[in-house]
Symmetry: C2
Subunit: 332 residues, 2 copies
DNA sequence: ATGAAAGCGCTAACAA
DNA sequence: TTGTTAGCGCTTTCAT
């Protein structure tokens, strides 16, 4: 924060008052075309940069928002963050990024820091319950998590339908014994995916379909090991696999491959998220519209901040779609 | 930016002056243990959150930095950004993230916006020459780009050695006809990698090694097509491939596979960056230490900002290492 | 159409 | 040890 030229200096140079300069800068109040020209010239000439910090203090609006996210390195989150920033930038908002590593303490610390920076609003990407229950006066939009108690604005993917679509695809491909690999934790998005999946089984079959749920920690290796263990114990007699993330799908696929089980000939696989690991490995996946998730969240947040909108749904649900790849192709 | 309790209110409640409260908050100046306790109690009780905006205005330090990056969605950049944020957070700095999509105009706009937010410093990840040549009084650290003219602090990976290591590995594996797939643009990191590669050829062979450079746009598809085209025109008689990014390596690999050319039996491949696409596809790759790149950049920047350091090298070079995978295994 | 003046919340001399 | 005061750069009434 080096010394920059101030509005007062500009005023002096233009032979007017700082109030007038301010008016010109913000196109409000009255001033003659002549003075406007003069002031703008000087501003140009001296490359004047308005001090947003002073402006923030005065107006009580910082033109910043904060994003609290587990890990920007996760492609899914990165895409959402990108979309948020893309939406905010043209509107003059700058965005703070805060990684938490899913650590609740860190989430809270970040929240406090952002409050002290007087951000105008927050977006929680997959925040913990503890974070969601903190009380703050800031407007908040949650993506991918539903706060159990508190009222908050929520943007979420249609997880139920995602699970439904996945099941439908497997059923269409004549899978009868299905393995579900899921995050062991009981979060709503995961559960909804599984519920949707089960619902499709009910709707589309005559109870001929069996399913087995494998709970694992989210990680390629963990999924791989869990599936390997099934195979080794002779418990793998499935012809379809649904995984609640692409990582889990990939991990499962690795285990199958290593044991000579062919995909899609012997087993069909559907993953979730449609991130690049699915793409590069030809895994059919339920696509989450990350751009829209981020964009909507930002749109709602800024809508609240500038209360340009009288009403917003509490929950906005973003549709999903199935992206078909090799892992579910029928060899007929 | 809702109304919060101020330092003055705290002072009133504690029956002291705001100056005293400020001193307690910042542990400077003198005050009795008694008043300290009293003030801290009240702060706790009312959950007082110091207004960083006011503080910034007064002290001319915003405790924020900005990162200008092409695309946070790119895993390589994301890892660096994560490392930067991790370093900055405990030191009380918040970080603004700005994506540019490699658009020079957007870079400049972001620079201006960050200047207006009065960030204390900037980190450029792979910024364009135009951006690097903008004049600003802010301390700047560049990663992965060397400004041609201006003086600036630079953190860079040892690209030359990276290329060198890649070549050595291929030569060790008896590759004699090597295809180099590189970014068509003439940026320094890419060029250094190629220079290092060529240097290793000189050092390690008796001029028995031929090389052919294929310039492509950075993208999986582009690399794939370029290599496919070589194959179709019967111009592919290589036994080794070096690509200046993992994406290009992967694209090349896809083309080879499609035409029945086996890896590593017929052709060995070495990529660059060691991002997950290399991992998932068993491509040997030159690893860039993204954590250290980010951490060092942040360390230097904050060092400058707080001028705790009297001297910093202008250029800090981070070592690389080769991660060996299937794509270069010898079948002997 | 323009300006004077107050004040946003904080810190840092300087006084007491 | 504590308080008084000025002022960071801006916006916003209210005069003129």
């Amino acid at each position: 924060m080096k010394d920059k030229i101030t509005i007062r200096k500009i005023a002096e140079l233009a032979g007017v008052s700082s109030a007038t300069v301010s008016k010109v800068l913000n196109n409000n109040g009255r001033y003659s075309e002549e003075t406007r020209k003069k002031i703008l010239d000087i501003i140009e000439k001296y490359n004047y940069q308005p001090n947003q910090v002073a402006k923030s203090l005065r107006t009580n609006k910082s033109k910043t928002i904060g994003i609290i996210v587990p890990d920007i390195t996760n492609e899914f989150f990165a895409q959402i963050v990108l979309a948020i920033e893309k939406y905010c930038d043209p509107l003059g908002y700058s965005v703070f990024i805060c990684n938490t590593g899913e650590n609740e303490e860190k989430e809270i610390q970040h929240l406090k820091k952002l409050e002290q920076q007087r951000v105008d609003g927050l977006i929680y990407l997959s925040g913990s319950d503890k974070l969601l229950q903190m009380n703050t006066t800031l407007p908040i939009v949650c993506i991918d998590r539903k706060p159990k108690q508190k009222h908050a604005f929520i943007v979420t993917s249609d997880n139920f339908n995602g699970g439904y679509l996945a099941a439908k695809k497997l059923i269409e491909n004549n899978c009868n014994h299905i393995l579900i690999i899921r995050d062991y934790r009981d979060n709503i998005p995961t559960s909804d995916r599984v519920l949707g999946f089960e619902s499709a089984i009910k709707d589309n079959s005559q109870n001929t379909i069996s399913k087995y749920v494998l709970k694992v920690e989210v990680g390629i290796e963990q999924a791989k090991q869990a599936v390997t263990s099934l195979i080794k114990n002779n418990k793998f007699h499935f012809d379809g696999v649904f995984a609640t993330t692409d990582w889990l799908a990939y991990g499962g696929m690795l285990a199958l491959r290593e044991h000579g089980i062919r995909i899609p000939e012997d087993v069909k696989i559907v993953g979730y998220d449609n991130i690049s690991i699915a793409k590069y490995n030809s895994i059919t996946s339920v696509n989450q519209n990350k751009e829209l998730l981020g964009e909507k969240a930002a749109e709602i947040l800024i809508g609240i901040i500038e209360n340009k909108t009288d009403y917003f749904q509490d929950i906005v649900t973003i549709p999903v779609n199935l992206v078909e790849r090799n892992s579910t192709f029928s060899i007929s």
